[in-house]
Amino acid sequence: MAIPTIEINEKYCKGCGICVTFCPAKALALENFKAKAIKPEACVKCMQCELRCPDFAIRIS
């Protein structure tokens, strides 16, 4: 299975950290107040981060 692409729009991301907290695979982290995909290979495509991102800043594909 291909590694999912976690696209983070830094212009929209406000660094609230909700995606990081609720990622069950610990694939995300905050760096310089922006979300960052630190372990995309761990992503299970549960879409929790995308659904709960209040800022339209994450896309999983």
């Binding site: 950290g17 909700i18 990081v20 995308e50 659904l51 991102c53 209040p54 339209f56």
Partner: protein, 274 residues
């Protein structure tokens, strides 16, 4: 599969004005998914709001959008719906806007059972003005105007709506993202007044004053406090203290809808005239 929100967003309006971790954006996304599920035509959909943080929502979405005066969304929407009963009219707004300054319009729109869908984004506070307490701020909680704790009892929006006569009343939280679009979809498809209360966190104005260290803490609170209505059977008021009962709380398909009733009245008037 990622959902394509762009299709319903007005170009160039993001990032939105809401603070980091504010749940309003999550609710906006839920509303967009619900509208998509209902296949509403953009030209035939109106989104009407009052004043406040939540009421800035209409500016972002590509429909007929009306940002009215504080508390008046339901009354504006009533005029719009009666003028064009086939138009889908959705109200959005916050707790203070909807049930404090707009309380009278809210209960009477419920009483008439007019076919509106009203999404109350309840973040327990007046956010835009800097965190004053609202009728939904928990008793004892801190706000910029309750430095000694809130002395006021709390409005239960869903119960208020049921008591006033709304025929579809549901509640969820900003944490329960998928339930948001599910309930809004049901509300839109319901013929009559549909109230969907989405309990939401305001990290900036409420969280900071009430020991929520981060937006994630607020989301965790919403996650933990929520209890599906199906699981509340046999639970007492005391058991439910501090809980957020979620799901469809009330549904009545038997009561007539207001615009339909008015159409019948028109027929009677015209027969009489003829």
């Amino acid at each position: 599969m990622s959902f394509d929100y762009e299709k319903y967003l007005r170009p160039g309006k993001l990032p939105h004005i809401w603070c980091p971790g504010c749940g309003h954006g999550i609710i906006l996304k839920g509303l967009i998914r619900a509208i998509d599920k209902c296949r509403l035509a953009k030209n035939r959909t109106a989104i009407v709001s009052g004043i406040g943080c939540a009421s800035r929502l209409p500016g972002y979405v590509d429909f007929n959008t009306v940002h009215t005066a504080h508390g008046r969304a339901a009354a504006f929407a009533t005029g719009m719906k009666l003028a064009d009963p086939e138009l889908t009219v959705i109200c959005v707004g916050g707790d203070g806007d909807g049930v404090a300054i707009g309380g009278n319009h809210f209960i009477h729109a419920c009483r008439r059972n007019i076919d509106l869908t009203y999404i109350i984004m309840n973040n327990n506070i007046y956010g835009m003005t800097g965190g004053q307490f609202s009728p939904c701020t928990p008793t004892g909680a801190f706000a910029s105007t309750t430095p000694y704790g809130n002395p006021d009892p709390v409005f239960d929006i869903a119960r208020l709506a049921i008591g006033a006569g709304a025929t579809f009343v549901a509640r969820t939280t900003a944490y329960h993202a998928l339930q948001i679009d599910k309930l809004i979809t049901e509300g839109i498809l319901h013929k009559g007044m549909a109230i969907i209360e989405v309990v939401d966190g305001c990290p900036t104005s409420y969280g900071r004053r009430n020991k929520f260290k981060s937006p994630s803490d607020m989301m965790t609170w919403l996650k933990d406090a929520a209890i599906p209505v199906e699981k509340t059977e046999g639970m007492s008021e005391k058991d439910l203290e501090g809980k957020i009962v979620t799901g469809i709380l009330h549904r009545d398909e038997t009561r007539p809808e207001y615009c339909e009733q008015y159409a019948l009245l028109r027929e009677r008037a015209q027969r009489k005239e003829g």
